[in-house]
Amino acid sequence: MALSRLSSRSNTFLKPAITALHSPIRRHVSTDTSPITIETAVPFTSHLCESPSRSVETSSEEILAFFRDMAQMRRMEIAADSLYKAKLIRGFCHLYDGQEALAVGMEAAITKKDAIITSYRDHCTFIGRGGKLVDAFSELMGRKTGCSHGKGGSMHFYKKDASFYGGHGIVGAQIPLGCGLAFAQKYNKDEAVTFVLYGDGAANQGQLFEALNIAALWDLPAILVCENNHYGMGTATWRSAKSPAYFKRGDYVPGLKVDGMDALAVKQACKFAKEHALKNGPIILEMDTYRYHGHSMSDPGSTYRTRDEISGVRQVRDPIERVRKLLLSHDIATEKELKDMEKEIRKEVDDAVAQAKESPVPDSSELFTNMYVKDCGVESFGADRKDLKVTLP
């Protein structure tokens, strides 16, 4: 985590005015909420709609929160990496580091009534929706206290009370589900929207276009977000898509291309999209982002791209670094404060890992629970028909 690339001018800005900011991370950061306007580095590109303004309204508190949340997510993913290598996490583990700006930017623009559904790269989205670190780690390690009671695993995080609908393993299958969520919102007149996240790989699925057609036809408040990290597992976008302008693929559905490594741009785009979807139906957001890890833990991530490319993006476009520079240049925090914050976060994550390691595995009766709702009094036997037996409630 030695992200030591700092802009040179930050050191001299240790002023008493900022001492109010020197607060431990646990206390709600009581910074200024007065608005700051920041220009996004990259302009938006639009298709069949107007681009939102490049000037983003934000505040010190918000930018600091971005930093904290993204640092926490980054730390969590790195901890998951070590746990996987220690064989405490098994199966598939798809890490989101590099893409954190998407999760935090989106959360800043929406409420918990708006729904989010995503694919299997869902750890950070879960945290963004208010999920707890210890629940995430417990689920990853298959413990009873995990967010899905250990029965889902890395690809199946859900949080119903925060309108987070998961966590889906089959590429693209969440897109019709997401349009169904939007349909329910329209049916119930919720005045809320659904963000349906999918990747550049899933953008070639037929069900995306089926769902887009229905969403546009029925005016559903669905926002389809293509997290374009440029690689569908090992296949680059230029090798898998005839038209890699994913925001234009909707044809009759308007689209917007956003710099996905800039949390503020993401926030602006999501805000714009929500307003659009509530009035005019679906819109596609293509988030130009990047993942540092391979597709999953079993993919080194370097056979189809060069290490130079990865480190290049890390140097130039890293979302956390970008926010760090913002914080330092606007005197919202000092370098030391941010370092302390990162240390706190590291401790927080380590504590969560330790707590999760201690938690119990599900017992054998859990094998049959939650198969059906009110499992109708059916008896269920294990393979040997003698020992493992349970009566479903």
């Binding site: 899905s148 859900y158 897109i175 589900l177 349909f183 198969m371 009566t391």
Partner: protein
């Protein structure tokens, strides 16, 4: 356009399995209690079969059909066709709960390709009876997503065979989401549609999907065969919190029967005793029930007394009713429309052999359709499915 939701209260009040449900049911309440008895006693017993002995002292409730007909003195009932019964069930449930909506191809303005949803779009509006484009995968997925939030969609596959395109959504999302989310989400969808071999519809339109769906964990499957159980099962399926696949048959839509006026539902996990008997148990479902009853007439003339059970519940099997029957007759013949390989009959044969082996005097025989794509030519199509004459021969063979 009645899209107003009455709130969570409406949803929680729906309970198929509540024995104190005030709906007028002929034999439901006793039956459902039996399952709970099985659970507590059986912990001391090794096999399912021996657990049944505890309950054997209870009197077997006579067949549902007979009891219903005896009821005609109390209420007049009304006569209708099977597709009208389905429509009535659907309409009543949509009236009862504003969360119920219908999605499918041509279900709205066209009225449904088999008229099951006729008139509903005019009554409930476009938001509750939705004409979808031709994209089974997407609209099945959409219905499942909507169900995750609390809506209760009824998905119609214009022909069950088309739902193969939605297999991913049905298997991975519909069946598994309740489990993989640790119980957070329920998927109260009903997936229904006509299947089975029709009159020369061709191979692709004559499929029996129950054999493909049967191993999906987390779903329930039922097959209706009469107007009475069609309406009852439709209502029970809509009220169930679990995803239910309701299999209808293309050739049974015009069956006529008198059904009660009052509100009733059929238990989703229960088999129906069509004709009690002593010599042999014939297990069947859907259209084959009628072939079996036709064969039964011939058999009775020949001096046999077959017990015919319409299993209705394809997943899970009603092993209680089936077991009691096997213990009485000691011979089993399964007559089904699925293919020989991997069909419902194959699973049922395995289940009976495993659980009731001691009670069998002869091997379980299973008559299924041939393992061929259904041909177009009428004569060939006839030979694909089981005919009454074959049933008679099989019974004679088993009862030797």
């Amino acid at each position: 356009m009645s899209s107003i939701i009455h709130g969570a209260g409406a949803a929680t009040a729906l309970s198929t399995f509540n024995p104190v449900d005030s709906k007028k049911l002929t034999n439901l309440s006793v039956r459902s209690q039996r399952y709970i008895v099985a659970g507590s006693e059986a912990s001391k017993k090794k096999s399912f079969g021996s657990a049944l002995t505890v309950r054997h002292s209870q009197k077997l409730i006579p067949n549902a059909v007979a009891t219903k007909e005896a009821d005609t003195s109390t209420s007049t009932g009304h006569e209708l066709l099977l597709f009208e019964a389905l429509q009535e069930g659907l309409e009543e449930e949509m009236d009862r709960d504003a969360n119920v909506c219908v999605m499918g191809e041509d279900v709205g303005h066209y009225g449904g390709s088999y008229k099951v949803t006729k008139g509903l779009a005019d009554k409930f509006g476009d938001l509750r009876v939705l004409d979808t484009p031709i994209c089974e995968n997407a609209f099945t997925g959409m219905a499942i997503g909507a169900a995750m939030t609390g809506l209760r969609p009824v998905i119609e596959g214009m022909n069950m065979g088309f739902l193969l395109l939605a297999f991913n959504q049905i298997s991975n999302n519909c069946g598994m989401l309740h489990y993989t989310s640790g119980g957070q989400f329920t998927i109260p969808v009903v997936i229904r549609g006509p299947g089975g071999v029709g009159r020369q519809l061709g191979a692709e339109h004559s499929q029996r999907l129950e054999s493909y769906f049967q191993s999906i964990p987390g779903i329930q499957m039922v097959a209706c065969s009469t107007p009475y159980n069609a309406k009852g099962l439709m209502k029970a399926a809509i009220r169930s919190e679990n995803p239910v696949i309701l299999f209808e048959h293309v050739l049974l839509y015009n069956l006529k029967e008198k059904i009660p006026d009052e509100d009733y539902i059929c238990n989703l996990e229960e088999a129906e005793m069509v004709r009690p008997g002593e010599h042999i148990t014939i297990l069947t479902y859907s259209r084959m029930r009628y072939h079996v009853m036709q064969a039964a007439k011939t058999l009775v003339n020949k001096g046999y007394d077959p017990e015919v059970i319409d299993i209705r519940s394809l997943k899970p099997f009603d092993l209680h009713t089936i077991g009691n029957s096997v213990k009485k007759t000691h011979r089993v013949l399964i007559v089904e429309e699925c293919m020989r390989t991997g069909g419902i009959g194959a699973s049922l044969t395995a289940a009976i052999n495993e659980n009731f082996h001691d009670y069998l005097d002869a091997p379980v025989m299973c008559l299924s359709s041939q393992d061929v794509p259904t041909p177009y030519a009428g004569t060939l199509e006839e030979w694909t499915v089981v005919q009454p004459a074959q049933i008679v021969t099989a019974v004679e063979q088993l009862c030797q």
